[in-house]
């Protein structure tokens, strides 16, 4: 099976074992993500969704299977800097100012100072942090730090954005505001987003497709199309269709065995 032309990410029969095969984190994952999609991976703790995201980013190698990103191997895609990544924690470097943090990938790409400065300014406008250029990360709130991390991930205009529970550590209000902001950025940049989350509501609100995963060994148990109108607005959270979809995802999680997973108390190994 060759990857379709417009496919940004293609996963074929991906499996991952940790601890010399004793722990099976992922088994037989097939998934194709098209250009411009917003795909959420949702599942119980330990279902391997973060591992899957790292496999797409070539930060972890799959035990079996093939990953194609932009028509090439995930490894080549990483070397070509084809994606930006955002983690649950902002992972900003304390000794660098906000500007310098955003500038880091640009320095790695060898951009000259003038070009970097122009892009940093643009990025700060995009995440609405103009005026905070010379602040240090530890002087910002959690939500602002995460916006810096998003600006940094987008600074070199990657066509693919990988996000690992980026708003998981934030309070509900900040989270909803950043959801709106992310949708606006997605709309403005036209990028493809793969988004790992624990939150059913967040997955439904943001995504064009929700991939429901089963507990360990992680498998794709169901894929739900989210047919809510674009662009998404805050009022959508009160739409009956939104509630229907939330219920569908919840039921899909239950069918996948997410309920029993909470009793299992499997030891966490190698991340998610």
């Amino acid at each position: 099976m060759s990857a379709p032309v417009d496919s940004v990410v293609t996963l074929e029969q991906i499996s991952k074992q940790f601890a010399h095969g004793k722990t099976v984190a992922l088994q037989g994952i097939d998934l194709s993500i098209e250009r411009g999609e917003f795909v959420s991976l949702i599942g119980p703790s330990g279902c391997g969704k973060s591992t899957l995201l790292r496999i797409i980013g070539d930060l972890i190698e799959p035990s079996e299977g093939r990953v194609t990103v932009h028509g090439k191997s995930a490894h080549q895609a990483r070397l070509d800097r084809d994606y930006g990544i955002v983690f649950q924690h902002a992972v900003l470097y304390d000794w660098r100012t906000v500007s310098k943090n955003i500038s880091l990938p640009l320095e790695m790409l060898g951009w000259d100072r003038g070009r970097r400065a122009a892009r940093i300014k643009e990025m700060l406008e995009l995440v609405e942090l103009t005026g905070f250029e010379s602040h240090h990360p530890w002087q910002l709130s959690g939500g602002m730090q995460q916006r810096v991390a998003i600006a940094r991930a987008l600074s070199f205009s990657p066509a693919l954005l990988l996000m690992d529970e980026p708003f998981g550590a934030l309070d509900e209000m900040t989270r909803e505001r950043l959801n709106m902001e992310l949708l606006r950025i997605w709309d403005e940049t036209g990028s493809t987003i793969v988004f790992v989350t624990h939150s059913i509501a967040e997955a439904v609100f943001l995504s064009t497709r929700v991939v429901v995963m089963s507990p360990r060994p992680g498998r794709v148990s169901e894929v739900l199309e989210i047919d809510l109108a674009q662009p998404r607005t805050a009022e959508l959270r009160e739409d009956p269709r939104y509630f229907e979809l939330v219920t569908q995802v919840r039921e899909a999680l239950a069918r996948g065995g997410a309920d029993s997973a909470f009793e299992e108390l499997a030891p966490e190994e190698g991340g998610e």
Partner: protein, 251 residues
């Protein structure tokens, strides 16, 4: 003004301590065994040129050891962090060695390099500095969050880039913690090295000689000079640290 006010209690304690020494402890212990601060002060003043020269001499011994020992500590830590297998094999010995009273080797380094050769003091001060700097630096280099490294790998960074842009800067606070300890150890190493023999111009030798001649005020004055150089050395490192870590949150 505010800062001066904040220092006031500490200054007051210092003044009270000196007063108690002058008028209570010294008379109780006998002025011969525990000279009064005023006597130490006047002895210092009369011998200031000799004492300060001796202090400078011993400080240079300490500085030589500090530079050599700390540099080697950092170099070895970098190598251990880069080649983790080697590091894992050798670190237990480094940790064990840092618990050894290395100062006991001072007579041996004197014998190796010669008592009058500053290299003998560099050696003992250097070995004393080496272990805390090694252990702290290595801890700093390897305690970087895995995500910080993953982020760099997502930019196709090489190990060298990761070291230069992430591991080393994030290890700096640990490195400076090690260096601060090393300043104190370097002074101890140099002075104790002097005790086992050294040039007559060395501070440790001055302390040793004056005490053996029962000239306690001169011995105390020399100890005050040693403390002064030690504190100044420590503060220099703190100043460099403040400058180097100016963007990092205060701990």
């Amino acid at each position: 003004m505010k800062r001066a006010a904040a220092w006031l209690p500490a200054l007051l304690v210092f003044a009270l301590g000196l007063a108690a020494w002058q008028w209570i402890f010294s008379p109780l212990a006998g002025k011969f065994l525990l000279p009064r601060p005023s006597a130490i002060g006047s002895t210092f003043w009369h011998n200031r040129h000799v004492l300060l020269n001796a202090g400078w001499f011993t400080f240079k011994e300490a500085l030589g050891g500090f530079v050599i020992g700390s540099s080697l500590g950092i170099v070895f830590a970098v190598a251990f962090a880069r080649f983790r297998r080697v590091g894992n094999a050798l670190m237990p010995y480094a940790v064990a060695a840092s618990a050894v009273p290395i100062i006991a080797f001072a007579p041996i380094t004197n014998a190796w390099f010669g008592v009058l050769n500053p290299h003998s003091k560099w050696a003992i001060a250097g070995v004393l500095c080496f272990f805390p700097v090694l252990v702290n630096t290595l801890r700093g280099l390897i305690s970087v969050s895995p995500e910080a490294v993953e982020l760099m790998r997502s930019y196709a960074a090489t190990e060298r880039d990761i070291f230069r842009r992430v591991r080393f800067p994030s290890a700096l606070p640990h490195i400076f913690a090690g260096l601060r300890v090393a300043t104190v150890l370097a002074m101890i190493g140099a002075i104790v090295g002097d005790y086992f023999g050294g040039a007559v111009t060395a501070l440790g030798v001055q302390i040793e000689n004056s005490i053996s001649l029962f000239d306690f005020p001169l011995g105390w004055a020399a100890i005050v000079v040693a403390s002064g150089f030690g504190i100044a050395f420590y503060l220099c490192v703190v100043l460099v640290e403040r400058f180097a870590l100016r963007g990092v949150p205060p701990v």
